[in-house]
Symmetry: C2
Subunit: 320 residues, 2 copies
Amino acid sequence: MAKFLFSNVIGAFVFDEKHRIIDEVLFNNIEQYSNKGVHEEKLKEKHKDAISPDEESLHHILLAFKDKKYFSDFSARNIKLTKLSLKESVKKDLLIMQAISAIGDIDKAVNLLVKRLREWYSCYNPEASYAFEGHEKFVNLITKKTKSQLLKELNVDETEAIGADMAEKDVSPIMLLASQLNNFYKLRKHYEDYLKELEKEACPNFMEVAGVTIAAKLIAHAGSMERLIKMPASTIQILGAEKALFRHMRNKQRNLPPKYGLIHEHQLIQKSEKGMQAKAARALADKLSIAIKIDYFKGKFIGDKLKKGLEAKFKISYGE
Amino acid sequence: MAKFLFSNVIGAFVFDEKHRIIDEVLFNNIEQYSNKGVHEEKLKEKHKDAISPDEESLHHILLAFKDKKYFSDFSARNIKLTKLSLKESVKKDLLIMQAISAIGDIDKAVNLLVKRLREWYSCYNPEASYAFEGHEKFVNLITKKTKSQLLKELNVDETEAIGADMAEKDVSPIMLLASQLNNFYKLRKHYEDYLKELEKEACPNFMEVAGVTIAAKLIAHAGSMERLIKMPASTIQILGAEKALFRHMRNKQRNLPPKYGLIHEHQLIQKSEKGMQAKAARALADKLSIAIKIDYFKGKFIGDKLKKGLEAKFKISYGE
């Protein structure tokens, strides 16, 4: 006579061959459910011949839980369990992805607004608007220095300057935009530091080899650290170059496969000679693949060794 | 014997038929140049037969100013004159265009960042992230109230909430983005007020009839108030609908001409019944065309009358 052992969120049960419950251990809470192995063992000792149900039996067994006696508990506990796993799903790598995306969005917004600021400010002080190429430096300067100060620095005679003499009430809206942009630059730096902190905890090896930004971009592109560890090194190598890859797959004669994706920005590849870049990308992706696995399974820190190995192999030293 | 009267930035001159200077009044500064009419009159009294040079004589006359005696003055004054006119070119309508463009850019930036904020915040407190639809209200609420307060307001039991329990150091970056966005909303409102002030000075009639935002958009689209006054009412009517207009011009059978462009957003058209919208657009554009001309030539304020006329005709009252 077959007996079936089956457990779910409300308890561990033994069914007879007619799928009636003949023994049970009810769980009082979700913690007991997480230790269900212990309770199953105890039942197994009493019912040595109990086996896991086959597909057909499982169907009948599951119907048993539609019984009023179990159903409300069964449903409530399952919902609670789902909520719990949702809570736990906010892991460091999710925060890394949010932070790097926020940095990307800030860059887009800043780019848009700084162009507006330059155009607007150039009505007032065109000489200075065109003199400072770097956006951040420009924004910083015009919030700190007056038009006269800037013109003096640029050796422009104030009476010769072609900017309009604008009233204070027309200059102040420009300055408000500039100081808003300044805040954005500060926020961006703050997020960079935060990202570094997150990665130090979640993926120190990966961060050491890839650098803070590229590490975050790779995780964000893969979708999670878990997905990243399942990828072969060759996939990590071309992550972010999907378009080029598919172009290659459609027409192999005309389009070479991509040599690198997101890791293209990496110093090891940037500083390599043209002929060596593909080789460097391959080596880098190998080490990245090792590093992320160590991080995911909470292994030791060997990021510095991996990095030194790469640097020695290609005779290139790279910073962050 | 022909005599020629010719004046430029350095003076007024009388040339003989061989294009030699026989009389001159040199200007000491640019102000005298702006009153050149007076000086020309004086010379004309002395040389009653002097005429404006024809094309061939003009060619010879202009060569005379390549002479060392005049050239450095001539060049310096011209540059000064150009700079002066550049200075003056920053007029109210230019500031109106900058302000409305800044508002548009802020909208784009805010839209981008508020989506990021919602996604990020929903890791922490998803119930609240989805409960408040309006972006501005959402940003405002989460900066002012804690997670517990918001959950209580939404009647969600805190132990049942599915958001993650995040450490303070992971929540603070989210809040920084939110307060940055709050600043943007404030800045936008500030610019709206500023725009209104500018329009009150530059185009009170036009603003009264069009409303602050549409007035600014029309000026920005035309490029200046000067260009706008040169447009027929029918062009103002479809300003901003160029794509639809050209589609119509390419294929008249299939594509009807556009009925309205930027003014489509106007309450007079929004509140009109479907069949009356084109008629309302035509009447509105007529009044706009009148209003902008009055404003440009500094006429009296009749914006309220124009507006009332429209409201009476279509039995619709519109606010701002």
